[in-house]
Structures are given as C-alpha cells and as structure tokens.
Symmetry: C2
Subunit: 543 residues, 2 copies
C-alpha cells in the first residue's frame, strides 16, 4: 500500500469516532497477545562484495547499471580523501543497519569528517539528484544521510534502518592536514524468516525459478516484526499486504507465528466502531493510521480464514471471531433491496482502494469484494461452528450475486462493466470472477476479449495483478496465467530486479505514483505473490 | 590556534621521531595524573528565549541581525509544516547538546521527517549558504546537521556538541498527509566553570565592564574538560591558548585544577624527544597532534611558572620540572656564538607561529621569546631550588639580550627590525619589550613611532594583540593600553559580540584566514585576555 491513497480519504475521518467502543476489553486482550507474540528478528552480519562503477546505459532498467570494478579491499586500503567517493555493492538486497570504521592514515585527523551515505535498492537511486525534491511523498523517505564524524578512530552505526543493495559514500568535508581511511563496512541485516522453503520441481522453467527466487527475497525482506509493505518506505502493517504476504508465506517460509502476531495486532488496534484498521504502526508504540479502508476491512476476514486453513489454529480463529464477524457489518448499510451495493454513497463515506489506477470505476470491484469476503467468512464460520451467527449470509450472497450478474454483465461484449459510464477494466473482471458472479466460461470470455477492446482500464500495480492472476487460475486459464507471470514478473527479473518492485510498467521504467521514481519502493510486499502461485499451483508453473 | 598553521610545517614531521624516548616512564605517570584529574563538567539545561527574524542591515556586523519577533511558544504551539522554518534564540552563547521533541498534531505522522538544524554563534552563519563550500578548513566544522526522525512522538538529542546562540530549523521533508509540532527545545550546556568572579570596581568604565563580561563568557565557554581554543571548532588543548586562558582564569574563575590537568596532559603527551606538544586531542583517547611548534614549547614553561606563582602548588611544578627543563634545549642548537638565534635554520626546521599574519618576519620575535622564556624558567627554577640545574641561563640570557639589542635595534627610527629586509612589526616590538631587550624608554618610543611609519606589519589576530597589550603595560603605556582595549575588544562589543571572536579586523567584518567567514570561531580563547588585564591591572582599567 502507499500514501497517495490518503488523498481519496479526506471525507472518511468522521467514521473513526463513533459514540461507543465496540471492543474495548477484547481490544486490550488482543493487543496483549500481539505484544506476547512479537517476533524476534534474525540478525546476520553482511559484508560488501565489490566496489562498483555506475555506468549510464540506455539499454538497462532506468538507464543506469552498477558494474563491479574493484575488490572491496581497495576502499579499505586507500586514503578516502584520495577516493572522495565510492559505490559499495553488497550483492543482494538487505534490510538493516550499516556500520563502518574510520581510522587515521599516517596523520592525526584534526577536524571532523562529513560523509554523505546514499543507500539504493537500484542503481538509479545513486545517480539521480534528490534535490530540489519534486516527489509527492516525504523527502525524508529517500535514503541519504549526512554523517559528521567528530572523533577518529571511530566505529559508527547509522541509527536509521535502510533497505538497499548499494551504498554510495561521498566525502563532503575533511581537513587538508589529515588523512583517513574507511574500513569494516558491514550491515546487520534483519528478517523474521528462519526457514528455507522447499525446492521447486527440477522441471521448472528457468525464468519461473528466477521469479520464485526474487519473490522469496522480496517476501523475506518484508517479513520483519510485522509483514511490512516495503522495508524502504512505509514499513507498516497494511491488511492488503498482510493478506498477500501471508498467502506467500503459507507456501514458502511457513512462519505462521508472524501471521498470527499481525492478525492480533490489527485486531488490537481496530477502531472504536470495530472496523479493522487499514494499517498500523508498531513504533514508538502500536497505533493505527486513522484512515479506515473498506476493502481492506473485508480482506481481514479472508486473511483469518486462510490462516486457519493453513494452520488449523482454531483457538486463534475463535479468539478473533468477534472482529471477523464485525467486518461483515461494514457493507450492510449500503446493500440495497435489489442486492446492489450503493456504490456512490459507499464511495463518499469510505476510502475504496482495489488499485491506484486513476479513473478506475470501483462499482463492480466493490460488489465483488463483498460477495467474496462474505463467502470466505461463511466458510470460516462453518469451520468454527458459528454458522448460526451469520445465518443471513447465504441469502445475501445469493441476492448480491444475482444482482451483480443482472446489472453488471454485458452479454453483447462478454465483459463486466462498472459505473454510470459502463467502464471496462481488469479490476472489474477479476472481482466478478473471484466472487463467483461470473461463471467460469464468462470469466474466460471476459479475459479473452479484454485485450481486443478499446478503452480498457489496465491494472496500475502488482497488487491488482495478483487478483487478476488468481481470477485467471480460477477460470482454468492456466496458460494465460503463466504467460502473465513470465511477462510481468519475468520482465522485472529480466531487467535485473533483485526484489520485486512496487511499481512496474513494462513500457515506462520511470513510472512513479509519487512523481519521482527514486522514492518508489523496489522491494514491495504486494509484488511477491509469484511465490504463492508457483508453489500452490505446481501443475501450472513447475512443469 | 587554528589549522592553517600546519601549512608552514610540512618540513617538521621528522622532528617527532628521534631515536630515543626521553620521558618514557615519566610520560605514563603524567598521563595517569591527567586522567586522575579529569574535570567533571557542570551541566545546565537552557531554554530558548524567543523566535527571531533575521534582518539584512548594512549597518551591523556582517550585515545581518537577529531581531526577537515572537515568543518561543509560537514555535511549540503551531504546526511545523505551516512554519517550515524558525530561528530560535537562546539569548546567550552556549556550548552543549541540543534536544527537542516532535509530536503529532491532530493526525498520525505516517512518514519520516527531515529537518536541517543550523547552529550559529553569529546571525550571518544562519544566512550565508555553506555550499558549494569554498573554505580552507574542513566543511564538517560548519554546524549544520540534517536529522531524519523516523518515529513520532520522539525526543531526540543530536549527538554532536555545538557552540551557538542561535538555531535555525528548516523543514526539508515531511508527509502531506500528516502534521506535527516541535516542542521542548533545550540545550544541556557544559563548562568546567563553577565559580563567580569578583565584581569590578564600581568606578569601572561601562564599556570596560562590558568587555569584561564578554571576556568572562568567552573564557567560560572555552573551559571544558580542557582549555579549548574555541568550542565551535578545534576544541583542542593548544599551549598558546592554555597560557592565555590560564592567565585569565587566575584573575577570574580560579579553576586551578583545570590548569593543572592541562599541564599534566601536555606533559604526558610530549613527543619522544621531550618537546611539549603544540596541541593535543582528548578523544577518543588522548593523543598529540604531530606538529611541534617552537614558540609554544617555550611558552609551556611560562605557563607552569605562572601556575606556580598563582597557586603555590610546588609539588606539581616539581613533578613537571623535567619537561620544563627539557624545553630549554629546544633553542640551544640555534644560538650562535654571537648570541643571535639562527633564524633561517630554525625557521626551516620548525614551525614558528607568533601570529598568522602572512609575510611576518619572525627573527626578532624568535629571539625575544627565547629570552623571555629563559628568564621565566630561571625564575621558576629558583622557586623550586633548581638554579644549579640551569646555571647556564643567566649568561645565555645576557648574551642573547645584548646581541639582540646590537643587531635588531635601529636607533635612527627608534624601532626594532627583523630579518634581512629589516621589517618593522608590532610583533617584533612586543617581543623585544617582553624579553627585556628594549628598555622601557625604547619600548615607549617604539610604540609611539609605529603608527607614524609606513609599511608596518600590524597584528593579524587577537593572540598577538595580547602580547602587544602586555608589552605596552610593561612600558607603563597605560593610556595606550586602555585605548587599545576600548578600540579593539570594545569594537567587538559595540558590534554586538556575545563572546570574543577568533578574528577581528575593525575594517573588515568578513575577514577569514580560511577564506569563508562562517567557519571562523566567534568564541575564541585567545581573545579572552581582557579579563586578565582588567583584573590584574585595576589601576589602569577599573578607574
């Protein structure tokens, strides 16, 4: 998830201050369980591999590549006043804390030293000037820090956590009467992953295997004390990212304790009206962001259902059932007598996400996500023996499904439409299929005709691509799903991705929802789901 | 002292590595005593007084003034995103560590905050862009730090020590979806001064009283765990600054323990050949700068003598006698049969300081400082009952004095000359008077005719002005001394100095030996000696 979404939400603030506090006591207990299950991070000290040269090349991603040019010993054994600048390459994406040592070289250091460190997930972050800053998110997300070293020798750990593969060092100030060298550059890398996932089938296509490796790294880097959305920037627990990461985790690292911790944390920080929070901060004390998000609240229920299916941990699911059940209320006041959601009113009163493609009409997706979440929650209730508490769901699902098909399916073109202007989008088809509004045949037809139509709204981010993939597989479009993976995620791999990017448009390397591509996250949770697809559907992806 | 002096010293490095270590065992004992007597700093928490507006004004020092414009509560109670920038005024010069609190304002802070702090001793440091940096000293001395705040609320102490009165805060990055305020800005100010000096006589001229106050503040700010040369920059213990500060301390704060600590530290860090180190660093472990300085080595002896005279602490003086005696050897190989120092050879083999006026011929000053130090050391020896160990001094002093008078006094003009080009300078007159080469009448004549002569080399810094003042008083030129104090130090006060500056030329507010006036130190030890003169000579200055 990302910040620009808040723009859509200026009207939603009022919803967080209802008169009564639905879960006052339960919330404290959930928060305590979250505290009790806080993951212990695995720390690994990593050394840089090489010094790199940054080379402009119109043929590579974002037109810059980092070429290993010298051994790291060259940095350590040479006056840094002579070097002035260096680009250090750790050879892999890391999330953690950087330390280095500064030592005199032949002469006493008689003045402070000023060094600028710039940490980059991709080479272009080291070559693009950050200022004057034109981006739409906080300038402070950019990973540059100017360090003043007052005493030499010294070993310094920069207190800020960074996400990066490359570090550029630039000397901004030193005394002409002294000399020094830098040594022992290292990173204390962190993750809450402590398992190795099963190997893929030997028959797996080489590019699929690479996609899997990059996806695993992406997931591992985002798995810290919560499922972060991206270790470079937000670092928060968003329900949308949690859901996708926990799916990938189920089929790879199997760190169920992290999922459990996150589900409790979200429950413990639910708003007073019982709505699951769109996203929460862990530090300095756990607290929710104040913007509720309609579709994420519903996805919380599905995440709990998937957790139970994967682990059999009925006790946690029972424990969380009150908040799961409460999310079912979110749509209810918008469901009309005809079974259609009042999209206009819901859109006025809530932040609806689904994707951040500007201009996306979300009527069909909204109808779909409610039916999908109701179905999943009903399945969960049955497993917990709670059907009687949600006895209204089957009829509601049926009514909403029929209404959606009646109002949103365009038999002439074979696609689902959305809104007053009958917009055709990938988002609408995906959610109509996932909700079961579309039959399998209708789904196949829709995805087949979409590429031939004009004015189709394509996905704006990997987050929606996940739901499109899932919908294709649900319709049995195995080849199309594999092709999409090879072209979309495979495209990133072929462009040199160490981890999957928050934003990827095969035709525009510089696309940024924040008007400044270096502030994009290049290791982003919602892009990691190939791990889930490849491992859940071996017949499609491992043959 | 300041760094540019090292330029003159490239040839001197060899002198620090003699074959034998003169004081190996003694040095360890001296260093241990320094360690045992390490001062405990007095910490005081200071609050800012006002928010200021920086106003351009061609009529004020360096053309910028800080005008109090709002109460500090305005900073604390207003969104900092609205303010974007603020100039905080603590109302006095402070040396210490700055803390501040960042708190949410109505909305969750969802991104890091990037704030630039610039600390200034004078307003122009807040208005002059530092980059691209053109100065001759390390850019890192400039007191600007960019802080990334990752979690809110937070109370942060910037780990670097600053010397300043003003702090400018500039917001460089924040999220448009959040808001915050800054509060509880404070400084933990440090000094090793814990006494209040005696009041001046009520009859004291108002400007003299102001000079005294500014001098006391300057001295107090420089008295930390050593006598620093200036708390903004070097922060080191230099013998030249120690000598002047300890003189001022004797007549004001009377912190004899600090002087004792510094004398032991210098002895403990003397070079292998027994020469007292020009300057030493305390951190990260005590170590000397590697450039020996001829005149400072000799001044060490005089500092010990003055310490003994002031305190009667014979034990310390006895303890340090070996290194005091060793400094007498520094000049010996350069003293010719005719009693004249071999200035050319000494100048080749040693760093000679006296002042940093470019082009100053130092022959007369060199001859003078040796005689002056020999006389003072002989007086010290007598107090310690060690005359027999320095029995050669009286004859040497006599021979050198006569030779100097014969070779350097120009009877026609009535001034002392220096070098092949017979240069006339304030430095030469001062040192010929202080050494006793000049009679009182000759001294008066010299200082009287100097202002009427062409091509006189004037002092370049307050350091030399001290010796000129002392020489004037030694000749009985009380009015001239008082006039000099009123015009020179009084000039700084009238230009708004909170503390005395490292560099002051009444005709050029922007003078900088480092080619960039914001890197000058505006609280500098060697400028504090009005405290000494006003209080040692009340008949001249307090009537």
């Amino acid at each position: 998830m990302k910040k620009s979404c808040f723009l859509f939400c200026a009207l939603c603030f009022a919803t967080i201050l209802p008169a009564q506090d639905v879960f006052k006591d339960l919330r404290a207990a959930w928060l305590q369980k979250a505290e009790d299950t806080k993951p212990v991070l695995i720390e690994t000290t990593k050394q840089p591999l090489t010094l790199d040269t940054l080379v402009k090349d119109a043929g590579v991603f974002q037109q810059w590549k980092a070429v290993p040019s010298q051994p790291i010993a060259t940095l350590y054994n040479t006056s840094f006043i002579k070097q002035q600048t260096a680009v250090v390459d750790f050879g892999e994406h890391l999330t953690g804390y950087c330390s280095f040592t500064v030592e005199e070289l032949n002469r006493a250091v008689d003045a402070p030293i000023r060094i600028k460190f710039t940490f980059g997930e991709v080479p272009s972050e080291l070559t693009t000037p950050f200022d004057p800053y034109t981006g739409g998110l906080s300038r402070a997300w950019l990973q540059d820090e100017i360090i003043t070293i007052n005493e030499v020798p010294a070993t310094i750990t920069i207190p800020r956590r960074f996400a990066f593969r490359y570090v550029k060092l630039e000397l901004l100030g030193s005394s002409g009467y002294s000399d020094f060298r830098i040594s022992q550059l290292s990173v204390k890398a962190t993750t809450s992953v402590n398992t190795t996932p099963a190997a893929l089938a030997p028959s797996t296509d080489a590019l699929i295997a690479q996609i899997d490796r990059v996806g695993l790294t992406t997931l591992k880097e985002c798995m810290q004390t919560v499922y972060e959305d991206g270790p470079k920037r937000d670092r928060r627990l968003w329900i949308g990212d949690l859901y996708l990461e926990s799916l990938a985790n189920i089929y790879s690292f199997k760190n169920d304790a992290l999922t459990r911790h996150c589900l409790y944390l979200l429950a413990g920080l639910s708003y007073n009206d019982g709505v699951a929070p769109s996203n929460v901060f862990e530090r300095p004390r756990p607290h929710p962001q104040i913007n509720p998000l309609f579709d994420y609240a519903l996805i919380y229920d599905v995440a709990v259902k998937e957790y139970l299916d994967a682990t059999g941990d009925t006790q946690t699911a029972q424990d969380l059932w009150p908040i799961v059940k409460q999310q079912l209320e979110v749509p209810k006041k918008y469901i009309g007598a005809d079974g259609m959601m009042d999209y206009l009113r819901a859109g006025k009163e809530w932040w609806l996400f689904f994707d951040w493609r500007n201009g996306l009409d979300k009527q069909a997706a909204l109808q779909g996500v409610v039916i999908w979440a109701y179905k999943n929650t009903y399945a969960l209730a049955k497993k917990l023996g709670k059907e009687n508490e949600v006895a209204d769901l089957p009829a509601l699902i049926k009514k909403m499904t029929e209404a959606a098909h009646k109002n949103l399916y365009d038999k002439t073109t074979g696609v689902f439409i959305s809104g007053e202007n009958k917009q055709v989008s990938y988002a609408s088809q995906a959610w109509m299929i996932l909700s079961g509004v579309a039959t399998q045949a209708e789904g196949v037809k829709a995805f087949t005709v979409l590429p031939t139509m004009q004015q189709v709204v394509y996905p704006g981010a990997p987050y929606l691509y996940h739901y499109v993939m899932e919908a294709m597989i649900q319709c049995g479009m195995n080849k199309a799903a594999k092709d999409l993976m090879l072209s979309y995620w495979g495209g990133m791999v072929q462009k040199g991705a160490d981890t999957f990017w928050e934003v990827y448009d095969p035709k525009d390397d510089f696309l940024s929802p924040y008007n400044f591509f270096p502030v994009n996250s290049y290791c982003h949770a919602w892009s990691c789901t190939p791990v889930y697809f490849i491992r859940k559907y071996p017949a499609i992806f491992q043959q």
